[in-house]
Amino acid sequence: MASTQVNAPGTLGDDRAARARRISRRRETRSALLFISPWIIGFLVFTAWPIIYSAYLSLTDYDVINNPNYVGLENYEELFRDPDVALALWNTFFFTIIQVPVYVIVSLALALLLDKAGRASGFFRTAFFLPKMTPPVAVGILLLLLFNGQSGLINEALSWFGIDGPAWTTDPDWVKPGLIIMSLWSVGSSVIILLAALRNVPQELYDSARVDGANWWQQTRKITVPMISGALFFIFIVNTIAGFQTFTEAYTAFFGSGNTTYSNDAALFYVIYLFRQAFEFLNMGYASAMAWLLFVIIMIFTAIQIKVSRRFVYYEGEQR
């Protein structure tokens, strides 16, 4: 961002002006660094050093009590042998790959509805958003209560339609679907993002489409979705990254010291397993290697999504 400096050679006056400029620029840099210094310190201590140290730890055996013991790539080799890593990866992929598209579609549907609510949209927006304010721990508890196989509200509601609901919280096949459905409860913020994007679509586009006789579905597909593709993509990518790191709701509902009643293999997500390795089994080295694998996976997925999005996402006023 260095502003281009024109050094006019020649007179003494020019020289002096250049010097004055240089001094004022140096002063500006110093002030800037002063303002930025909190972040620089924080970055060095709580991000840069941890990155380096985590990379080092991933090559060691470390239990906090004894000194780290260098073991080379053994932790990484162990990652590929550990059946629980495979299980956790499978659970996490399964969850993310199903949850994210469903989540985006549901938020879009709700945003479209909300867009038509007219003066009442404020009320409905509040209703849709409130679950997002609920602490994830409470969401995890609600999951246990509402999805309870015998007495839960969900299965009672299903029974009105003659459906015999599954044991969501205990049947391994139904744990992840239950978690996915529960996660849809918190779509509120995505709905707000999409609603804001919808309101920015120029009305003329719809007017001219109507003149051409386009129906609602055609308008939605050909105008709305392309015009808000930027926001849709944002939600998609943010939720994918969050999905890979899903932790609190599942941990609350299926792990912890008190859990003696539920089988929890089906809810062993990657970050949960990482957390347990690090802070319950104190395998800090192994957990660090797990963290780096997660980092690589997220990077790969994000890169793929960005690449794919280039073909579909339209940003207003941007030439590609």
């Binding site: 961002m1 941890p50 609510a117």
Partner: protein, 302 residues
């Protein structure tokens, strides 16, 4: 939808408005409208019902918690009296308030400072440095989680509340990004004028820039308040003694003990869940406008 369209164009048709009779939109119930309103009301029920269920269950005695009735058959206030005895709820709430306020205030001030540094000053390497700020947002928390714990451990701060908020002294990438966007939207002439009047950089920042960007500061405060209040992972990592718990951590402990821990006192768990959640609902209603605006802008700028 086409009927709705026709209605709109009719209403918009240029009728010469006679002064006395206001132009009135004709309201017609169309199938599309019925569908939209059914959808809206159904969705609202789905979103709100868990709250109603939870609150209702918290007023039921132990045996009726799971009866799925909206109105408790036997209405009791006992759970709200017992929960304070069964657990140090008041202490947990106090801990949470303390951590949350400290975290929100420090992150707002520090992030605003850093954001201002990036928005106002011009210096070599600024974009590169700001790129680093943005890049840190991409880093999964899992990578830095363990070394950060080791730092706090070596400082003897594990099992204190400090690790839950102190890192906020150094700003947070997301808020730096958000606030910088706001600062960049302010007219530069304003600051140049203040400079000519003899204001120094600090004064320009605190007296002019900060007040002008109050909405963004409020958004930052509210977002962080919510994030810290609802967080479970950090309290799980850092807090050991139950006297130091925050409410989410305490709630998890209650679930482990009274929920599936064999004691089967779900009414306590349910009531504690309500107590944990209600402050966030209040926070939302206090700052609803800012929450909505903040989320909408992060979506469009992110």
């Amino acid at each position: 939808m086409t009927t709705q369209t026709r209605l709109d164009s009719e209403a918009a048709a240029p009728e010469p408005p006679t002064p006395r009779t206001p132009v009135r939109r004709r309201r017609r119930i169309t199938p599309a409208k019925v569908l939209i309103w059914t959808g809206l009301i159904l969705a609202t029920l789905i979103f709100i019902y868990p709250f109603i269920w939870l609150i209702s269950a918290s007023f039921k005695p132990r045996g009726e918690v799971f009866d799925n009735k909206i109105i408790p058959e036997t209405f009791t206030f006992d759970n709200y009296l017992n929960v304070w005895q069964e657990a140090p709820m008041a202490l947990w709430l106090w801990n949470t308030v303390l951590v949350t306020v400290l975290a929100a205030v420090t992150v707002t001030v520090s992030s605003a400072m850093v954001a201002w540094g990036f928005a106002y000053f011009r210096f070599r390497g600024r974009n590169l440095l700001f790129g680093v700020v943005l890049a840190t947002m991409m880093l999964p928390g899992a990578v830095t989680m363990i070394p950060q714990f080791l730092i706090w451990n070596s400082l003897g701060m594990v099992d204190t509340l400090t690790p839950l908020w102190a890192q906020n002294l150094f700003g947070s990438a997301f808020y730096i990004f958000l606030l910088r966007q706001f600062f960049l939207g302010l007219p530069r002439e304003l600051f140049d004028a203040a400079k000519i009047d003899g204001a120094n950089n600090w004064k320009i920042f605190t007296r002019i820039a900060m007040p002008l960007c109050k909405p963004a500061l409020i958004i930052t405060l509210l977002f962080e308040f919510q994030a810290i209040w609802t967080d479970l992972m950090r309290p799980l990592i850092y807090l050991r003694d139950s006297d130091n718990f925050t409410v989410p951590r305490g709630l998890k402990a209650l679930l482990d003990q009274y929920g599936f821990g064999g004691e089967w006192h779900w009414e306590i768990v349910v009531t504690a869940s309500v107590i944990t959640t209600v402050p966030m609902i209040i926070l939302f209603f206090l700052g609803q406008r800012h929450f909505v605006q903040g989320i909408a802008t992060t979506g469009s700028k992110g």
